[in-house]
Amino acid sequence: MKRLFRNKFVIGLLCTLFSLPVIAQEDELKDLPGYVDFGDLSLTYGEPKITINLGGTMLNFVGMMSSSESPETSEMISKLKGIRVQIYSLEENADVARSQFSDTKSNLKSSGWEPIVQVNEDDEQVLVYMKAVDGNMEGMTVMVVDDEEAVFVNVIGQLNPAELAQVMDQFDVNVDLDLD
C-alpha cells in the first residue's frame, strides 16, 4: 500500500513537471490584463493571412538585439509584454467581420477598456482602445474592418503611438501594406 502510494506520488509529480511548460506558454499572454480575445473568423474567411503572436520572451530578445542600434527603441520594446495580430482577407461579404468587430467592442467596454479613437464610416470602421489598471497602461487594441480585410492588433504592455514612427525607421524593415 505504501509502495503504491509512493509510485502514484512519483508519477503525479513527473506529470505535473512535464505539463508546466505547456501551461505556462499557453497562458503567458492570456492571463495578462491587456490581452484581448478577438474570437475566430476562420470558419467564415479561412485561416488569417497574417497571424503574429510574440510573447514577452521573444520581445526581450528583439529588444536586446536593438539595444546597440537604438537604446530608445530597446527601452520601448522592453515595456511590451506581447504583440498579437490577426488579419483576414474578406473576399466575401464583410458582415461577419463587422459583427465580430461589434462583439469585441462590447467586450472591451464591459472589461474596462477605454475608447481612444473611433471611426465609423459606411465602408470602414476603425477602433482604438486602451486598457489602464491603477494608472498603468496595460494594453492597446486596434481593429480595422473595411471591405477588403479585417485587422485585429493587440499590443500588451505600454506603447506610446508617437514613438511608432521612430521605431519603424529604426527597424528599417520593408512592410508592404495597402494604406488606402
Binding site: P21, L54, M58, F61, V117, D134, V142, V151, F171
Partner: protein, 172 residues
Amino acid sequence: MNEYDEKWEERINALLDGELSADDAERLKAEASDDRELARAIVEAYQLQKAMDEVKVERAPASLSKRLNAIPREHSKARTFSFLQPRWAMALAAIPLVVITLSLMQPDTPSASEIAKARQEMAIAFAYLDKANAITSREIESSVGHTLADAVTGSVNRAIKSQNLNSKEKEA
C-alpha cells in the same frame, strides 16, 4: 544460592584465583574446618574451576568458518554496489527526467533567424498600428480640419503618454 555462597563467594574466588594472601587463606581454611557448608562451597568451586579448565576449545567446521569469514566481505560488497538497489536505481533513473523537465521549463534561446523573424513581425504589427493611426488622422482631418486634427491627435498621444509617465513614476 545459600547464605554461604553470598558471604564467602568473594573470598573463595580470590582463593581459587591465588589472589588471597597466605594469612587470609589459612584463616579461610580454619573456618572451613569448622563449617561444613563453607568447606563444601570451597570444594564445589574448586571442582567447577577444574572442570572449566579441562574443557577443550572445539574447532568450528570448515564450512561454517568459511561462511562466517565471508560475511564481512559480503557486507562490504553490498555497500559498494548499493546503487543497484531498487530505490537507488529509481532515483538515478529520475535524474535525467528531472534535468529534461527543468530544461523544458527554461525559456528557449531563439536563433538569430528567429529573432530577425520576430523583428519583422513586430514591424508588421507596428505598420498596421501606423495604418490605423493614418486612417483616424485622415478622418479627423476631413471632419474638423488640419489644425484641429493635429490638436486632437496630439491630445490623444499626450493622454497615452501620461499613462506611461504615470507608470514610470510608480516604478520609481
